[in-house]
């Protein structure tokens, strides 16, 4: 166990250094000056930290939604928060095409709208809540499609780039994102024992003394807020929230006091690495980061799955 944690921390630090150094040209993070230093500290570092925080938040939200809904296929966007956030972002873009921050504001408002809708269903059982979420998600994606159809063509670039995940600039201050990362991890750790019990199903958890109604409401709120923050900061980046928690379960077992911190770090690592790759593979041009998260995450995940089933 100690070995695994040391390894994770080592990987985290090396990916961080790698992310700082990688770009269309390699810059040694320990020895940079002049323009290189400016690029390193003012362009790469904020972006890297955003990637770390957003990746971690998405992975945490994914872990929570999976246990909350008792479904391994759940991920942060499953209850329609991504759809409503996207619709909000595009609506913002339509209202004020010139403004840079209005899209983020729209995304945040949209995400909250999605959360409020889903909170109405928090007292249903996990399966029905999931169903309600899927149906709501379909509704939001219809709204999104409608808005995209009405959006002037000049806005489509921006809308699509946002929907594929964009770390190049975030309107949320990085300190807020990092604070959210720490805060949500701590909340998660406080809840970790109840979450473990929830792995036995709601009835068994209740029989073991979990106040299931309250846990469900708090968890739903927490996971949704975290998702909303991540989406506001970087658009909809798929895959991190689904795969990282499973990856961490394969490596660290199922107890939440291990997989929550592991996911928070692992999500950060995956997204930092994906973003570094997105900036370099066809440098000086860039790829949308969402492509890279899927391309890197899927093979690793399938490999571990196959190895484990043997």
């Amino acid at each position: 166990m100690i070995l695994k944690w040391t390894l994770t921390l080592t990987i985290l630090i090396s990916v961080f250094m790698l992310g700082l150094g990688m770009g269309d040209q390699w810059i040694n993070p320990l020895n940079a000056s002049g323009q290189d230093a400016m690029i390193l500290w003012e362009l790469r570092l904020p972006r890297l930290l955003t990637a770390f925080a957003v990746g971690g938040l998405l992975a945490l939200a994914g872990a929570w939604f999976q246990v909350l809904l008792g479904n391994p296929l759940a991920e942060p966007y499953v209850l329609g928060v991504a759809g409503s956030a996207s619709a909000g972002a595009v609506a913002g873009l339509m209202l004020m095409p010139d403004s840079t921050w209005v899209m983020s504001a729209g995304a945040f408002i949209g995400a909250w709208l999605g959360i409020i809708c889903i909170m109405f269903f928090s007292n249903l059982g996990a399966n029905r809540m999931l169903l309600a979420g899927v149906v709501l998600a379909a509704f939001w994606s219809a709204i999104l499609a409608l808005l995209l159809a009405l959006l002037p063509a000049q806005g489509l670039f921006r809308a699509f780039s946002w929907m594929m995940g964009d770390l190049s600039h975030s309107d949320l201050p990085i300190s807020l994102l990092l604070l959210a990362w720490v805060g949500s991890l701590l909340c998660g750790l406080l809840l970790s024992r109840s979450l473990d019990m929830l792995l036995l199903g709601e009835r068994h958890a209740e029989a073991l003394g979990v106040n299931i109604k309250r846990l469900r409401q708090w968890l739903l709120l927490l996971a949704s807020v975290v998702t909303a923050l991540a989406v506001t900061a970087a658009g909809t980046i798929g895959f991190v929230g689904l795969v990282v928690p499973h990856l961490m379960r394969l490596l660290f077992g199922s107890l939440h006091r291990f997989i929550l911190p592991a996911s928070a770090m692992g999500g950060g690592i995956l997204l930092m690495l994906a973003d570094a790759m997105a900036r370099t593979v066809i440098a000086p041009a860039e790829l949308p980061v969402g492509i890279l998260t899927a391309m890197m995450g899927v093979p690793v995940f399938l490999f571990l799955l196959l190895r484990r089933s043997q």
Binding site: Q35, L43, R44, D98, S161, D166, R279, P284
Partner: protein
Amino acid sequence: MKIFVLVGCFFYTLLLVNIAQAEKFERILALAPHACEMLYAIGASSQMVGAVDYCDYPEAAQKLPRVGNYQGIHVEAALRLKPDAAVVMSRNVKGILQLEKMGVTIIVSNPKNFEGIFQDMLRLGQITGHEQEAKKLVSKQRIRLQHVRQHADAHIRVFYELWPDPLLTVGGLSFINALIDEAGGYNIFADIPMDSPRINVESVLRSKPELIIVPLEHRNIEERRIFWQKWLGYTHVQVLAINPDILHRPGPRLMDGLEALQKLFTKVHHP
């Protein structure tokens, strides 16, 4: 069986010959802004019956009935205008194939360089019966092109900010890259084999552009100037605006765009 095919081929050939010989279309839809501008420039305005949303030049074109936008052509609205031909940029636009099936002749115009633009103008001149005007326009433009080429010696490093967020520029495959080259500049991202690649701020910084061109489309030039000068320093770079319509449309006004570009380049050298 064979005989039918032969007869079919024969009539089809007759039809093709007929189309080629029917020298004049009388009711034309201009379904691309550059085509609209070309038709006006060669004096075929009286034969135009419809256009699409973004055909906004010259002013008279704004009065034409609209039959579509970027996403597609409204076939019924188009047919109601009883067109006999439609000039399009690509057959892939939604509704074009249907229009063709209903008997409207589709003329594709998607020129990739100045020679292509000249050829298309001549072609449109032929089919509208304005051959002379087209020839005159083309020869004038050839002289202007010659003039630009003779003065293409600025050798200035240019960054073309196609879009600020996500940050998009023009790559080696882009039309605008060719224009910058033609006007005597050097596009710092000419080596990227893409049309409009997404790039990041640091690659721009490292390429040290002397001139940043902002096509002013829903953007505040001051905002962009402040942004870029923050990174590149106030003395090293100039941030200048240009009207995108004269650069992004392969029509008669592209020559204006080329000349405007060259003017920007000399402005940097002799501020």
